[in-house]
């Protein structure tokens, strides 16, 4: 069981709660959702508590992440898109910290659950649709009719645009989920090689050196992936929000 690379994704009930036949238990996944939110919120709150004019190292991290997300959003959605800044920042930090926390041994990676990433993606697309219709009414549907195409092609292009729009939440969620899942499985498999090979005595220990090096290398790669996937998630969120703010392309 120690070598089962799937075991790390197993959900364990810590506090069973059942309401009307629905299992709403507080699980290890729930604990890490709360931990992610609390750790990130506390970090942002505490590092900025001195409100230093000249920032310290930790305050710089908070400010850099703020300005990083702010410039990302401003670049893709313009200054009108800045009203979504709290949402994009929350998503970016939540996904980033969830990914990074998942890299600690024995920690649960909540972004390796498709339902979590899909819920976040639906939140983004839902925001785009609701805001788009509230702000532009049916003008929001111009999103599916790019300007400057021949009238003959309009029905075809509209179908393609609608399909691409509907596939957005899927691709957004599956990308993050699959990256985290695959990375953690690979990591677990190589780490499993180390333990099972070293059980075969001296030759096994020597043979375990290669998978050990791979484990170290993949851990490094996973840190990159953890950041990159959070970044990709946030950038795509910004681009989708841009459609809600400026539907006319």
């Amino acid at each position: 069981m120690a070598n089962d690379p799937i075991h790390q994704f197993q959900i364990a009930k810590w506090i069973p709660i059942e309401v009307g036949g629905l299992d709403l238990s507080f699980t290890n996944a729930s604990a890490f959702m709360v931990a992610t939110a609390v750790a990130t919120g506390a970090f942002l709150y505490m590092t900025t508590s001195s409100r230093g004019l000249v920032p310290g190292r930790l305050q710089s991290i908070s400010e850099m992440s703020y300005e990083f997300v702010a410039s990302m959003l401003r670049d893709s959605a313009g200054s009108k898109g800045m009203k979504f800044f709290p949402l994009v920042f929350s998503l970016f930090m939540f996904v980033l910290v969830a990914n990074l926390l998942g890299l600690f041994p024995y920690f649960y990676t909540i972004t390796s659950q498709i339902i979590v990433t899909f819920a976040l993606a639906l939140l983004v697309i839902g925001t785009v649709i609701v805001y788009g219709f509230l702000k532009h009414g049916f003008g929001f549907l111009k999103l599916f009719v790019p300007s400057g195409i021949p009238a003959l092609l309009v029905p075809l292009v509209v179908i393609i645009e609608v399909i691409s729009f509907l596939s957005r939440p899927v691709s957004l969620s599956v990308r993050l989920f699959a990256n985290m899942l695959a990375g953690h499985i690979t990591l677990k498999v190589f780490a499993g090689f180390v333990t099972s090979l070293s059980a075969f005595g001296a030759i096994g220990v020597v043979g375990a050196i290669l998978p050990l090096l791979m484990t170290v290398a993949i851990t490094g790669l996973e840190f990159l992936v953890a950041f990159l996937q959070a970044y990709v998630f946030a950038v795509l969120t910004c681009m989708y929000l841009n459609d809600a703010v400026h539907p006319g392309h």
């Binding site: 959900i11 810590w14 959702m33 709360v34 709150y45 920032p55 800044f85 709290p86 939540f94 024995y106």
Partner: protein, 194 residues
């Protein structure tokens, strides 16, 4: 560590509960076989806790953390702009001071030049006057000297006639041995001199 203990907790009750909870156990067993991310029985709990944690996280960031960081950045931006303004103002002041100093310097130079010129002109004029005075004195002295020389020359020349007469009469006396009339000698000298 969390996962292992939690798993142990979850694993032990399943066989212990036994036949009394066959339904639960069966459900549990079925859930165990599924790849965990696709185990729909956990979705409700995950969605609920995600909504709670992410929702509170979003509200906290939106209302507390982000306004604070934004405020810090704004204060800093204002402060930097203010400092830049102040620096620009100080630079303008310094430039003005330099310009005033240079103007003063130029004025002082011009004044010094004027004073110098004036002084040198005065000195030149004085020197010229002195030179003229000296020259005039010298000319006067020269004229006096020339006059004296002319006088001496004239008197010498008049003296020469008398000496010649005396000499001639003396020569004649010593040669011929008689006296020569003074007027005769004078006429002879005059003739010889001409």
């Amino acid at each position: 560590m969390f996962v292992t203990t939690a798993y142990a907790q979850e694993a032990t009750p399943a066989p212990a509960e036994g036949a009394a909870h066959t339904e639960v156990a069966a459900e549990h067993g079925a859930a165990q076989g599924v790849f965990p991310p696709f185990d729909t029985s956990t979705y409700a709990s995950q969605l609920l806790w995600l909504a709670i944690s992410f929702g509170l996280f979003y509200l906290f960031l939106k209302n507390v953390a982000l306004p604070r960081i934004g405020g810090i950045l704004e204060v800093r931006r204002d402060r930097i702009a203010q400092d830049l303004d102040q620096a620009a103002r100080m630079k303008a002041e310094a430039d003005a001071a330099v310009a005033a100093y240079e103007q003063e310097l130029a004025e002082a130079k011009a004044k010094a030049n004027a004073i110098g010129n004036e002084a040198s002109n005065a000195a030149k004029a004085e020197a010229e006057a002195k030179r003229k005075e000296v020259e005039a004195g010298l000319d006067q002295k020269l004229a006096a000297a020339e006059e004296r020389i002319a006088g001496i020359k004239a008197s010498a020349m008049s003296g020469v006639g008398a000496i010649a007469e005396e000499t001639a009469s003396a020569i004649v006396q010593s040669l011929v041995g008689g006296t020569v009339d003074k007027s005769e000698a004078a006429a002879a000298v005059k003739a010889a001199a001409e």
